[in-house]
Each structure stands twice: as C-alpha cells, then as structure tokens.
C-alpha cells in the first residue's frame, strides 16, 4: 500500500497538471467571485466561507477522473486487482493519494484565499479545520464515483453528475462550520457531524468502490 501510495504521489507530482491544476482552479474561482458579485467587503465576508467550500469542492472534482482512468487505460489497474493487497486497500490508498495531492493543498491554501475574500479574522482557524476534516470525505466519495465510471469513455461529465449529489451533506456541514466560525459562533455541532460523515465514508465506501472496480474489470 505504501509503495502504491508513493507511486501515485510521484505520478501526480511529475506528470504535471494534476497537482497544481486544482490549486490554480481554486484560486481562479476565488478571484472570479468578487468580480462577479462586486467588491463590497461586507458582502464578501458574508459569503467567503461558502464560496471557499464550493470552490474547494469543484477543484476536488476536477482531478477525480484521473484516479482510475489512467491506470485502466495502461492496464495497471488489472495488475493492482491481482496484487496481494485487497482491492479495498487499493481504493483506500487511491483516495488517500488523491487527498494528499488535492485536499491537503487546498486546505493549506484556503487561508490565503480567505484573505482575498475578506474573511473575518476569527474565521480562519475554523475554515482550515472544517476543510481538513471535510476534504477527505470528498476524496473518498470521489474515488467511489471514479470507480463507477472507469469503464466509460469520456465519463468526466457523468462523473460530476454522479458525485455532486453525494457531496451535498459534506458541503452543507463544512460550509456551516466555516460560516459559524467566521461569525464567531461555536462551530462544534457541524464540525462533529462533518467528522462523522468523513469517518463513515472512509470506513464504508471503499467496499463499494472495490465492488464497482471488480464489476468494471470483469
């Protein structure tokens, strides 16, 4: 599993695009929103947590179809399926690699973009905490979607259609936690629920992912 993780990370780093692309997209959305809704600091401060969450979610979505598609094309997915680690383990590792290359950089970059969007000072900590707790769920759910659509040529659009509704609970609790943090309220309840979703998704979804992969490799 560690070898697979290292391989995926190396591929993401060296093939270019995958790593920086999500971040660049995140930045672009954060720049486009003030251009669209106007530069009033009060408005921006109110919508900043939500915008950052939606932007992070879309940036995550962008790199999902790479998770299995390239491996499927060159046949290494078949090798992984016959490897000594169970397919569930492959699913977890893939999700972890995806999180390390998109979710984690997004979480770290979020305070910077919060600055651009005039996020109130007390909001930074909770924004980062909420993203750190929520983005793993995005990666795990996305890996499941990628496994469903791996056999379909040009499945990118379909992948978004399948995965976005599944992202709704994560988005609601994550954005709510960040918003409450920014308004100076206690974000404990949504944060706990968010952590619950992440833990539940990470524990159960890899089984569904592996099952979908098996069907697609049949």
């Amino acid at each position: 599993m560690i070898a697979l993780l290292a391989r995926d990370l190396r591929l993401a780093l060296r093939s270019g695009g995958g790593f920086g692309l999500g971040l660049a997209f995140f930045l672009l959305v954060a720049v486009l929103v003030p251009l669209g809704v106007g530069p009033e600091p009060a408005t921006l401060a109110r919508i900043a947590p939500g915008i950052l969450w939606v932007a992070a979610l879309l940036a995550c979505l962008l790199s999902l179809d790479r998770i299995f598609a390239l491996d499927h094309e060159d046949g290494s997915l078949d090798l992984l399926a016959t490897a000594p680690i169970p397919l569930e383990g492959v699913a977890v590792t893939k999700a972890l690699a995806h999180w390390l290359t998109t979710g984690l950089p997004l979480t770290l970059a979020a305070p910077l973009l919060g600055l651009l969007l005039n996020l109130p000072p007390q909001g930074y900590l909770w924004l980062v905490v909420a993203l750190a707790l929520g983005t793993p769920a995005l990666s795990v759910i996305g890996t499941f979607g990628a496994a469903l659509t791996v056999g379909i040529r040009r499945g990118g659009l379909l992948l978004s259609l399948l995965v976005l509704p599944l992202y709704i609970p994560t988005l609601v609790f994550g954005a709510e936690a960040a918003k409450r943090g920014a308004e100076g309220l206690s974000p404990a309840t949504p944060l706990l629920l968010l952590a619950g979703i992440t833990a539940g998704a990470a524990a159960l979804l890899p089984f569904a992912t592996a099952q979908a992969l098996r069907v697609n490799l049949r």
Binding site: L148, L161, L162, I168, P169, V172, E176, L193, L205
Partner: protein
C-alpha cells in the same frame, strides 16, 4: 408457490400480462373519481381558496417519488443478492417514472407556492431535498444509459442506488440542519387520530391509491418492454452468430 417464481422472465411476462390491464384500468378509474371528486366536489378551504385542490396531485406524486426510489433500492438489493434479471430491469423501469413524479411534485408545489407563499421557489428543507432527490434520479438514469453491457450496468447502478440512498437520507437531515422551512409539517400520518378533515381526506386517499396503481402499471409496462427489448437483442445476436 413462492414469490421468486416470478423472477423467471417467462412467468413474469405471463403474470404481468394478466394483471396489467386490471391495474391500469383500476388506476384510471380511481384517478378519474379521485381527481373529479377533489377538484369539483370539495369546499374551498378558508385562507387558501381553490388553490388547496392542487394537493390531489402534489401529495400523491411526492409520496410516489420517494416510494419509487425505495422500490428501486429493494429491486437493486434483490439483483445484487439473487441476480434475478427481472429485478434489475424493474429498477431500471422505475427510475424514469420516479423522476417524473418528483418533477410533478416540484412543479405543482411551485404553482401552489406562488400565490400562497408569494414565491415560486424557496430554499426550504423539503423543497431542497426534493431537488436533491431529482438530481439523484438523474445520475442514476444517466449511469444506466452510459454503460453498454447490461449486466455491468445493472451491477453498477445497483451499487450507486445503495450508496445514493444513504447519502440521500444524509442530505435530507443535512438540509434540515441548514435551513428552517416554510413548508408545513406532515399532514398525513398513520399514527395520528385525525389528519386532514374528512371532506379533503377521502378524495385524497382515492388519489393516492390511484397514483400507487398508476406507478405499478407504468413500472410493469416498462419492465415488460425492457424484457422484450432484451429478448430482441438476444435473438439478433443469435441471428448474427448463425
């Protein structure tokens, strides 16, 4: 005699062929009675005027929208566990009916909401979760259409249906948490002594029964079509091979 006998496509075709005209006829009859009764022979409600009559479409459609997903969930489970093709095809057949019911519920709700709440749409928990249900249906149908091999498609859509159900329920509660709503609470439930006043309640029950039968008849019809299409494909494949 067990229920599983109808997992045999031939038995299913025979039985459903016998039942279908009756179900369709009864659905039509009940809907005609229920809707005419509801629309023309119930008093107008205080504060609501005649707009209240849209509940004879709105409530049954909303009910069936959720139950159609439940039926798909059960059919998907049966397919995954026992691998009966009829079950997978029934799940496939139910999805477009379910999405239509969801749409009817959303549209009639909007038409009612405009004069009553003064808005076509509000981000109310119930409305939002129905919109989310609509998206889930779309994803499910799109996945069916995208995959060519029927067994792979059946497997993957079943998995999506199971995972989707969990997330749909999660979304329902997440949305509740996110916003308080305009929509009234449940007016009909089995464990309450009195629900809506009888003048409205009885035609509503007739309409609900009509919608249940309508759903059943549409699903049976569509499943039969799917089975015939599958047989046709098998025949064509045999012709080509010969």
């Amino acid at each position: 005699m067990s229920l599983w006998e109808y997992a045999n496509p031939k038995k299913f075709m025979q039985a459903s062929g016998l039942v279908l005209p009756w179900v369709t006829g009864l659905a039509t009859l009940l809907l005609i009675i229920g809707l005419i009764w509801g629309f023309f022979f119930t008093p107008e409600a205080v504060n609501f005027g005649s707009s209240v009559k849209i509940i004879y479409l709105h409530v049954p459609a909303a009910l069936m929208a959720i139950n159609a997903w439940l039926m798909m969930l059960v059919a998907s489970l049966i397919w995954l566990v026992r691998r009966h093709h009829v079950s997978a095809l029934a799940a496939r057949a139910a999805a477009p009916v379910g999405v239509t019911m969801t749409l009817i519920a959303l549209v009639t709700g909007a038409i009612w909401g405009q004069p009553m709440w003064g808005t076509w749409w509000a981000w109310d928990p119930r409305l939002t979760s129905f919109l989310i249900l609509f998206l889930f249906y779309l994803g499910y149908i799109a996945l069916w259409q995208a995959i060519e091999d029927p067994d792979t498609a059946a497997d993957l859509t079943s998995i999506l249906c199971l995972v989707g159900s969990v997330f749909a329920i999660l979304s329902r509660y997440a949305v509740n948490f996110w916003n308080q709503g305009l929509h009234q609470g449940a007016s009909l439930s089995l464990d309450k002594e009195t629900n809506v006043a009888d003048v409205y309640y009885l035609p509503l029950l007739v309409c609900i029964a009509g919608f249940v039968l309508l759903f059943l008849s549409l699903v049976l019809l569509r499943t039969r079509t799917e089975i015939r299409a599958r047989r046709l494909q098998a025949l064509l494949a045999r012709e080509r091979a010969a």
